[in-house]
Symmetry: C2
Subunit: 393 residues, 2 copies
């Protein structure tokens, strides 16, 4: 890699690369946050965050509602900071109408990661994960846990073969199986009939997690409700739906997510913890859901954004300078085929174009040089594409 | 109680009392939040929140810093909503300088309640709590836990006798002992030499929790640092300091707290969870701490507020219509001595004066009719005192 660096980079770039490497190694188990990057390396101008996976149109929508509510009442936001938020069950009760799920099945979480931790720590001892995957699903396993993996095949576009998968779960002896659909980082979406068959085969397992955090980007929003797999899993009480709201609603900083599970588990969790786990801003966000006009506007925004995703995918799949995988999510996994490392590509995209993408070098079960690119607004997508072309072609 | 209600209330008040009772019974294990109350009972004008325990001057201080920072950068707040926050260890690293504690000993929490849950669920199987106490210390015990209690004596002003306490812990067979100082709800502060002796006697216990959430109100802020018991517990690696920041900094809605414990425990917790448990606003709050001018201003505000507390206590201790207990915190426990129930007093304070205080009827280990009154600004304290006098005298 050093040779390539010397060939393709300027001395100033090499200095920044070294500083960026130091930052990444101190950032913990995930990519450095944008804030961290800007504090540590103020001379890098990050113009587009294509690393974290959020719908920027939805951020604007939230922002406009927040500002409109704040303008009507000067103490609106200050009260949110000062007062204790409502308890978990109260928020679930209000939120349940919007997602048409019984409140007793809803565990409101401080981000989906809190729900993942709660389920793994309380309802599993041996977890079977598909790799590549979202890393908390194995990182949150404690020393008391066993973790086994099912390898997804990049030569088959990461398609999950239902029969091989079910065999693998049963052979592993795991008591918990994790399915993300569309999957992170590759974007493969399990067809409904495959998922249903898998759940029926695993109905004796202690726990099956179906993480639908990216489901809004894969299906047309129906007229009344938002896309969800909840209905599909209703017959399988061992199944937990995990849902991040950071991505589709563009509000990762607020920490809002939830899980749907059988009422006895929700009660076990809430009777002994998670008292005030939802902050005032997140409570406000959950309350926005009870307003039909917010959901209407969100569906419009989602449709526009899903159009951007479609257009971006058209362009990347036709591009000869990189190998892109089919995706049902708002990001695309790409394989670098010109001999450069993912680290060098990531760094040059950042230094030369201010485009921050996810270097997948640390992804277990992903053999080769990969980056993951979040899809954003139309003009940003054009810049991302140009940047990729410039660095790779 | 019904007789008293009929004697002392109007029919309209009795209707509101009934609706308030229904609200309280649906609010979960703690008092209904102010937001909940205002939504459910818009005809009650809550003018003073003397139920939740926060320093209102500190809320104003946070608010002014937030607004000043937001005015310099139009995307300041929006970025906080949109971007993933930094991970736990990154925030601990930055925050460690301000509290002069090694970052490896800091567990940054989504409110102190998250820290309490983490410690109880991971480092105890039998908890010994002093009653009355802050209820999560026994509510968070799981069905696998045993809970035993040490009764504080109201006739001795809830003073903790060190020798009797240590004997009680040892006799109980508990592996975890919980000390809150100043204690909630009575405000008794354990003298340093007593606490040190207790810790030395319990150094073989698996876990001792010292909750110092109200410590700022009990001691003079030193010139450089804020009051803390961390130094006192340094020699006892089985001891965990728990610290809420909702009270002293007046920001309960942000959810910010932390615990200080031995590095091996911090690592165990963070290696398998709590990845992004701090929201963007809370991360901003922790970063404010790294600014010496913020801490200087906070100390000034704290001194003024502690003056208000001193004045309020002078008045209540001289009042004949209620029995007030000595307190080292920013609230005062009061015993009703005129035959009215705490429920009736709480309700009349709310209906007639818009003053919301804590009805202590549900507090285990508190025999009699008690309310807990949060101390606020000078004019609010005057109104609270008048309201108490009007309802009780």
């Amino acid at each position: 890699m050093l040779d390539l660096q010397t060939q393709r980079t300027t001395p100033q770039e090499r200095d920044l690369i070294a500083r960026l490497e130091r930052l990444s190694s101190s950032a913990g188990s995930h990519s450095p946050s944008l804030t961290m990057m800007q504090e540590a390396l103020p001379d890098i101008d990050v113009r587009i965050d294509a690393c974290y996976l959020s719908n920027p149109l939805a951020t604007d929508l939230f922002w406009s509602h927040f500002n409109s509510d704040a303008s009507k009442d000067p103490r609106f936001f200050m009260r949110m900071l000062e007062a204790y938020p409502s308890q978990n069950r109260i928020i679930a009760e209000r939120f349940s109408h919007a997602i048409a799920v019984d409140p007793g099945r809803i565990f409101i979480a401080n981000g989906a990661t809190e729900a993942i931790q709660a389920v793994l720590h309380n309802y599993s001892s041996h977890v079977h994960v598909n790799v590549p995957t979202f890393s908390p699903y194995y990182e949150f396993a404690t020393p008391k846990h066993e973790v086994t993996t099912f390898q997804l095949d990049q030569d088959e576009d990461f398609v999950l073969d239902p029969e091989r998968y079910v065999q693998s779960v049963k052979r592993s002896g795991a008591d918990a199986a994790i399915l993300i659909t569309p999957n992170n980082p590759d974007g493969y979406q399990i067809p409904d009939d495959h998922l249903e068959w898998i759940l029926s085969q695993l109905s004796d397992l202690r726990t099956v997690v179906v993480d639908e955090s990216f489901i809004h980007f894969s299906r047309e929003a129906e007229s009344q409700r938002l896309p969800t797999l909840v209905g599909l899993t209703d017959n399988y009480p061992n199944t937990t739906i995990v849902k991040s709201m950071s991505k589709d609603f563009g509000i990762a900083g607020i920490r809002a997510g939830y899980a749907i599970m059988k009422p006895s588990r929700v009660n076990e969790l809430l009777d002994h913890g998670y008292l005030w786990n939802i902050n005032g801003l997140a409570e406000y966000f959950f309350s926005l859901f009870s307003r039909p006009e917010f959901l209407d506007e969100y569906r419009t925004v989602l449709k526009t954004y899903n159009g951007y995703i479609f257009e971006f995918k058209l362009k990347t799949s036709a591009a000869g300078f990189i190998r892109s995988y089919p995706t049902g999510a708002n990001f695309q996994l790409m394989r670098i085929t010109n001999g450069m490392t993912s680290e060098l590509v990531t760094t040059l995209l950042l230094l030369r174009h201010g485009v921050y993408v996810r270097n997948c070098a640390d992804k277990i079960g992903l053999d080769g040089e990969f980056i993951r690119v979040a899809i954003r607004t139309e003009p940003e997508n054009a810049l991302i594409f140009q940047a990729l072309e410039d660095v790779l072609a």
